[in-house]
């Protein structure tokens, strides 16, 4: 088996705050393979964004990568020098941020914002005068690809002149303009209405098919994962609690949190099925006890759970952080 | 060579007819001349005239000097004189405004040309001080004034003086250059002739400290209004020295003669005894003032040198107060405007020690002046003020400040006998008789003590060692003709 495109091993990220050290990401390991779509699910604050900000080298003080490794195409990214990192970002790995409303610079035209990536990374663009023309052409192509009509005319527009869905598309166009090998889409649809959400997700799926890149789709909606991702990793309180092929995880969750999540949302086609809330609340990330982080809310807790629980593979392609993972339920 | 002067105030205007400002006049005199001027001893000497004669007590004729040229090159003629004075006397002659200097011409009715070199002043009543008062009026060119109009006169000049204007940066400086066609000035004043320096720069530096600093730094050669406390610095500097001249301004504290407690002469006398003038002169004025016992400057016409002195005597003051029914002293307020604030507080402190418990109220100049205006309400107790006497003639200070209803009679003093003497003195043409009349009047006033008599300060100047030939004038004019710099 070939090496995965992106391989994160035991990543730890912490933020020093006035209240104490927030261990936002605490031992996350996952792989993204060539061409696949990996879904990352988890509730708000579970560490989804921070994990991938780590991948992008965008953890700023008071945050710090405390340990672990991030390898992209076999190259270690933790501790990479800033220049090299900069060349990597936007060209090999691209990321779209959670909130399209605030992620485009309101003071610059969208044309500027897409052209600058092309000009910064476009080694394959011709030099001299032709360079700008070529970059423009590629920008227009990219915008057309994501479904912005009359793209050439809209280069001079400012972000506020775009609707929410269009801004999200624009961000995707910018991210994809240098044909990255990996796209990290951080909750591309959370702020959007369902009808628009469907458009954007389908767009990402079709571009992935066209360009053959890998995609990490961050979301808190299991439905989105189910429809669009090959594999899924479930985050809870800074740790991955379960990962595996999407269909398997959904039909046969082995971590009580995953199971609880599945049972707590109403499903349109089974509205008669009662929903079961997960009682309690997400733990505070400061001063966590060493044991299972889901322990206080777990209906199946037992004494072993008070000790550190390893994230371990229990079947081909599947892993979970639960002492009961081996037993199907 | 270039002469630089640090001067307190910007001229308000360059129109000699349209201001009542001493500083403006000082500056204007470097460009303009009058018919009559003062010599260094403050004696009247002819300037643009060769002589003046009284035809009768109501008519005076002047004979013009010949060969006098305006800066424009035109010769000065009798028409210019007539024009100058008609402009001053006629209501609305300054583009609708009336000259504020009109009143300085007293009963002058008209000025008429006799021939090309003679002009007559016609008075509505006898007025012997006319020649002295003529020193205050500068002669303008008729053709220039008609051309420039009131607005032009305000910002341009065409005088006969030793210097002509090159540039005037408002609020900042005036540049003057030597007028080669200058007639040489009053022959009676020593070293008559053309100006000594090529250029004069009058730099406006209102801030006292800055002005002194500029002198000390060698930026300027003359500064006016040297503060007394800076004398030490100027004297300590090898490149600068202090020059002084007895001023013409009498300082006094006007007591409200119409109101208790100062309507009682004993209280007024007590106040005079209560004040240690010598101490204030020594400490606040660095000794640069002459204590006065009356209204007139010792240099003035008709000064009475034999006036009694109110010596510093706290006990006498207290006794007088007690006599007047104030055994426990009195509480009064001393009004002052900003510049007199320090002085007022010092006076108040000293008076208080003698039982005249004095509070100082500082108001801005015109507010206080309003309060003490002759026809105003005059509701204060005391006001520290002063009266200038550029002409050094009693008519110019005695009458306005002490005659009943005089425009500067802020004390509200009224004495029939004094009024009569002043009226007589104003008409008397015999000099000796006139002087005697005023001496008598001074004696009466000093006894009645309508004011606390203060002093006559020296005008202090700081000059650089480069400067020669210049001396300050009691009139306050800059008289720059003689000033030379190496």
């Amino acid at each position: 088996m070939t090496e995965p495109l992106l391989s994160i091993a035991d990543l730890r990220v912490a933020f020093a705050t006035r209240q104490g050290l927030v261990r936002a990401v605490d031992g996350v390991s996952l792989d993204v393979r060539e061409g696949e779509c990996l879904g990352i699910v988890g509730e708000s604050g579970s560490g989804k964004s921070v994990t991938f900000a780590g991948v992008m080298g965008l953890i700023r003080p008071p945050g710090r990568i405390e340990g672990g490794s991030i390898r992209f195409e076999g190259r270690e990214l933790v501790g990479l020098d800033p220049q090299a990192y900069r060349r990597l970002r936007g060209r090999d790995i691209a990321m779209t941020l959670q909130d399209a409303q605030t992620s485009l610079n309101p003071a610059l035209t969208v044309g500027t914002q897409i052209l600058e990536v092309l000009l910064a990374h476009g080694d394959d663009l011709p030099s001299g005068r032709a360079r700008l023309r070529a970059a423009r052409q590629r920008a227009v192509d990219m915008m057309t690809l994501v479904g912005i009509p009359a793209a050439a005319r809209r280069l001079g527009d400012y972000p506020h002149q775009f609707s929410g869905g269009m801004r999200q598309r624009m961000m995707i166009a910018i991210a994809l303009s240098c044909r990255p090998k990996l796209l990290i889409a951080d909750e591309p649809t959370t702020a959007l209405d369902v009808t628009i959400q469907a458009q954007v997700l389908e767009l990402i799926a079709s571009i992935r098919a066209t360009l053959g890149m890998s995609v990490v789709l961050i979301t808190h909606d299991l439905g989105v994962v189910a429809e669009y991702c090959d594999r899924v990793a479930v985050l809870y309180a800074g740790q991955i609690v379960e990962s595996g092929p999407t269909a398997q995880v959904i039909s046969d969750p082995r971590h009580p949190y995953t199971a609880g999540l599945l049972r707590s949302v109403p499903v349109l086609s089974h509205l008669d099925r009662p929903i079961h809330p997960i009682e309690g609340q997400v733990p505070d990330l400061i001063d966590l006890p060493p044991g299972c982080r889901f322990l206080p809310r777990c209906p199946m807790a037992r004494t072993a759970c008070h000790n550190p629980v390893p994230f371990h593979a229990f079947a081909e392609g599947r892993a979970a952080r639960c002492v009961l993972a081996e037993a199907p339920r | 060579a270039e002469l630089r002067i640090g001067f307190t105030l910007d001229p308000l205007t360059l129109d000699p007819a349209n201001h009542r400002s001493r500083e403006t006049e000082s500056v204007l005199r470097t460009m303009y001349n009058g018919l009559v001027a003062h010599d260094p001893a403050m004696k009247l000497v002819p300037e643009l005239v060769e002589s003046w004669q009284w035809i009768d007590p109501r008519t005076m004729e002047v004979t013009l000097r010949s060969g006098v040229k305006f800066h424009s090159g035109a010769p000065m003629t009798a028409d210019d004189i007539v024009y100058t004075f008609t402009r001053l006397l006629t209501d609305g002659a300054l583009g609708g405004q009336t000259s504020p200097r009109k009143s300085l011409l007293g009963p002058t009715k008209a000025v008429v040309k006799v021939d090309d070199r003679s002009v007559r002043f016609e008075l509505s009543e006898p007025w012997p001080v006319l020649p002295a008062m003529l020193t205050f009026q500068e002669v303008v060119s008729k053709s220039f004034a008609e051309k420039a109009g009131a607005a032009g006169m305000a910002t341009q000049e065409d005088g006969t003086g030793p210097f002509r204007l090159v540039q005037w940066r408002r609020g900042d400086s005036l540049v003057l250059e030597r007028f080669p066609g200058y007639f040489g000035g009053a022959p009676a004043i020593p070293v008559a002739g053309k100006a000594c320096t090529d250029r004069v720069i009058i730099k406006i530096i209102p801030e006292n400290a800055s002005r002194v600093a500029a002198l000390l730094a060698g930026d300027v050669d003359i500064i006016n209004e040297l503060p007394a406390h800076d004398i030490r610095n100027v004297e300590a500097n090898p490149n600068t020295r202090v020059m002084a001249v007895n001023g013409t301004r009498t300082f006094f504290v006007a007591l409200n003669n119409n109101r208790a407690p100062f309507n009682d002469v004993r209280v007024r006398q007590a106040a005079n005894h209560a004040l240690n003038r010598k101490l204030i002169i020594a400490k606040l004025l660095n000794g640069r003032a002459e204590p006065l016992n009356g209204v007139m400057s010792p240099a003035a016409f008709g000064f009475n040198p034999d006036l009694p002195t109110y010596g510093y005597d706290v006990n006498r003051a207290k006794a007088l107060l007690a006599e007047a029914g104030h055994p426990n002293g009195i509480d009064v307020t001393l009004d002052a405007d900003g510049p007199q604030k320090d002085m007022a507080e010092a006076i108040a402190a000293l008076l208080t020690q003698a039982g005249i418990r004095t509070k100082v109220a500082v108001g801005d100049g015109s507010q206080v002046r309003d309060k003490w205006a002759v026809n105003g309400k005059r509701e204060g107790d005391m006001w520290i003020t002063s009266w200038g006497n550029g002409s050094l003639d009693p008519t110019d200070i005695f009458e306005p400040t002490l005659a009943t209803g005089g425009r500067g009679n802020s004390a509200g003093y009224s004495n029939k006998q004094v009024d009569a003497l002043l009226a007589e003195g104003g008409r008397e043409t015999d000099t000796a008789k006139r002087a005697a009349i005023y001496r008598t009047a001074q004696a009466i006033v000093t006894k009645e003590a309508p004011w606390i008599f203060l002093w006559l300060p020296q005008d202090l100047y700081g000059v650089s060692a480069r400067l020669s030939g210049w001396s300050p004038a009691a009139s306050g004019w800059l008289n720059l003709r003689d000033a030379c710099v190496q």
Partner: protein, 335 residues
């Protein structure tokens, strides 16, 4: 759409300017003391003369009539006679204006050139030594009484060290030909480097004294808004795009961060205009501010009235221009 917005803002100026005018007029009309008497003070004026001057000056008419006349004249730039100069107020003010404008502009430039780079650097190196220095410096800047600080500067640099001139705007030896009245511009136009140097030497201390509080405030604003902007998602996204640090700071961040700076700068020109009075007095600067102070003490109210109105109108217009500038910088409000 933009011209409509512009017109709209312009129209908003009308009631403000009207209100300002009413207040200025009332301020001076309710002042005790009769201008006619002040004008005739020391002149042996008879009551009839005073009355006729009152009539000429329109003081015998009712307040509303006088207001209408005042506004009518003010619109034409006429403010009556300066009581002491006995010349039109407008002419007297016009002579003093260039010096004041020059000083204010210099102070503004000083403030901007100090504040913006310092604010940016402080924000970028947040918590660093430069940031601390700038913060402490700005606290000093807003706490310094300008009139006192000016005196200290004067004492140090002009009197004791003799590095800079004591007073005024230029020395005569270096006086450039008066084309515009602005010494710096005139010097450049005439190609007189000596004049330029001399004018700048005179400008230095007053401009610093006047500009320092503003620099302090603008530095804080720039720092705060820069910090705010650097937190924004679009900065993170720009970084995710792999752009260089300089481009991110200079283009992406600064263009947004300057918005509050512009607004506050406009508001702070108010303290610049007011500070003129103090600083010109301290440094013997031949400008309008000193003239106003002097005029107050001789109760030259027509001049004070005109100057206060002029200051207020200038201030309103500066803020209007800043509004427009804001529009240019911020596409979001451009519609």
């Amino acid at each position: 759409m933009r011209s409509v917005a512009l017109l709209q803002r312009l129209l908003h100026l009308v009631p403000v300017l009207f209100g300002v005018t009413v207040i200025v007029f009332l301020m001076m009309s309710l002042t005790p003391g009769d201008p006619a008497e002040i004008m005739l003070a020391n002149q042996n004026a008879t009551p009839e003369q005073v009355a006729s001057l009152r009539h000429d000056m329109g003081l015998d008419r009712s307040l509303p009539t006088r207001f209408v006349t005042f506004v009518g004249h003010a619109v034409q730039g006429e403010f009556g006679l300066s009581l002491f100069h006995r010349r039109p107020v407008a002419a007297v003010i016009a002579e003093r204006l260039p010096a004041t404008i020059e000083l204010s502009a210099a102070a503004l430039l000083f403030a901007l050139f100090m504040a913006i780079p310092l604010g940016v650097v402080a924000a970028v190196h947040r918590g660093g030594i430069l940031d601390r220095l700038a913060t402490v410096g700005s606290l000093f800047g807003v706490s310094l009484p300008g009139f006192w600080f000016g005196i200290l500067l004067l004492l140090a640099f002009a009197v004791n060290l003799r590095l800079l001139p004591v007073s005024g705007a230029i020395d005569f030896a270096h006086q450039p030909p008066g084309l515009t009245g602005f010494l710096v511009i005139d010097s450049v136009l005439a190609g007189r480097m000596d004049s330029l140097g001399n004018a700048l030497a005179h400008l230095l201390l007053p401009a610093i004294t006047l500009g320092l509080p503003m620099a302090a405030i603008l530095m804080r604003v720039t720092r705060a808004s820069m910090l705010e902007v650097l937190r924004q998602d679009y900065i993170t996204f720009a970084e995710a795009k792999g752009l260089g640090r300089t481009r991110i700071l200079a283009l992406h961040a600064l263009k947004n961060a300057l918005l509050p700076t512009v607004t506050v700068a406009a508001i702070e020109t108010g303290s610049l205009l007011g500070g003129n009075m103090v600083v010109e007095t301290v440094f013997g600067w031949p400008g309008l501010g000193r003239l106003v102070v002097e005029s107050i003490f001789v109760r030259n109210y027509p001049l004070v009235q005109a100057a206060v109105l002029l200051y207020a109108v200038t201030y309103v217009l500066v803020n209007f221009v800043a509004d427009m500038l804001y529009t240019v910088l911020n596409p979001r409000v451009r519609m």
